[in-house]
Amino acid sequence: MATDAPKKLLEPFFWTLFSAGGVVAALLMPVHIFLFGLAFPLGWIRDLSHTRALALIEHPLVRIYLFVFCSLPLFHWAHRFRYTLYDGLQIKHLNEVITVFCYGGAIIGTALAGYLLLSLP
């Protein structure tokens, strides 16, 4: 039973991250994808120049915003993808590997976002 204790503590923690990431993805992602994935590449709106984009990202609040924008949705993905593989494809025997892959990916992505945003000029 003792080995179950950390699991039971981590589950609500990860669920909170999943839920917060779901909110961030729902509120912020559509407009980002519309602009950077469709409107700019298709020429509906003129592309941001490098200088302009750098100027936008200069403010610390924008960097914090982008950090949250990258990190929380990754934990949202980790939770959903884990259960999709578990229930949807019924890959139950690989449960541990999948858990490590999903949350490990989210943690690495979060670290990468922090590193990139801090190392910007």
Partner: protein, 142 residues
């Protein structure tokens, strides 16, 4: 049998016969729209993660200078990328809509002892979404 014995017989033990479970097909979710909707909603998370990766690549190219950033923008103009981003946009919209429609059930709000109607909670989420999206677009494009 005395009542005491009968009680003992229903006590839980760590041993039990194997449960009877019919095997569920791997494609169980294809049968009904309701199940398919559930799986599509869960799959939307892959597109959410994909766009985070795109954003990280964009920040990376931004930090490497104007040429690298121009290369990033060039790659985003590739028709395959645009097609993938269009699909991503639809999946993330699906996530947004299903998330807001579920919100009233996950979060029951009471005002003056009365439960706030589901339409009102979902509606306020949609309004917040529109206001935030417009603000983000204004900030980027101003």
């Amino acid at each position: 049998m005395t009542p005491h014995e009968a009680k003992g017989a229903t006590q839980y033990t760590t041993y039990h016969p194997r449960w009877y479970r019919t095997r569920v097909s791997t494609y169980w979710w294809l049968g009904k729209w309701y199940y398919l909707k559930f799986v599509l909603r869960e799959l939307s998370s892959i597109f959410v993660a994909y766009f985070v990766v795109i954003t990280l690549l964009q920040i990376h190219s931004l930090s490497r200078g104007p040429e690298a950033y121009a290369r990033f923008e060039e790659r985003m103009r590739n028709p395959l990328m645009i097609a993938l981003d269009a699909i991503t946009f639809l999946f993330v919209l699906f996530h947004t809509i299903t998330w807001f429609n579920l919100a009233p059930r996950a979060m029951v709000v009471r005002l003056g002892g009365k439960r706030v109607s589901e339409i009102l909670i979902a509606g306020s989420n949609y309004v917040a979404w529109l206001v935030i999206s417009a603000s983000v677009a204004w900030f980027i494009l101003r």
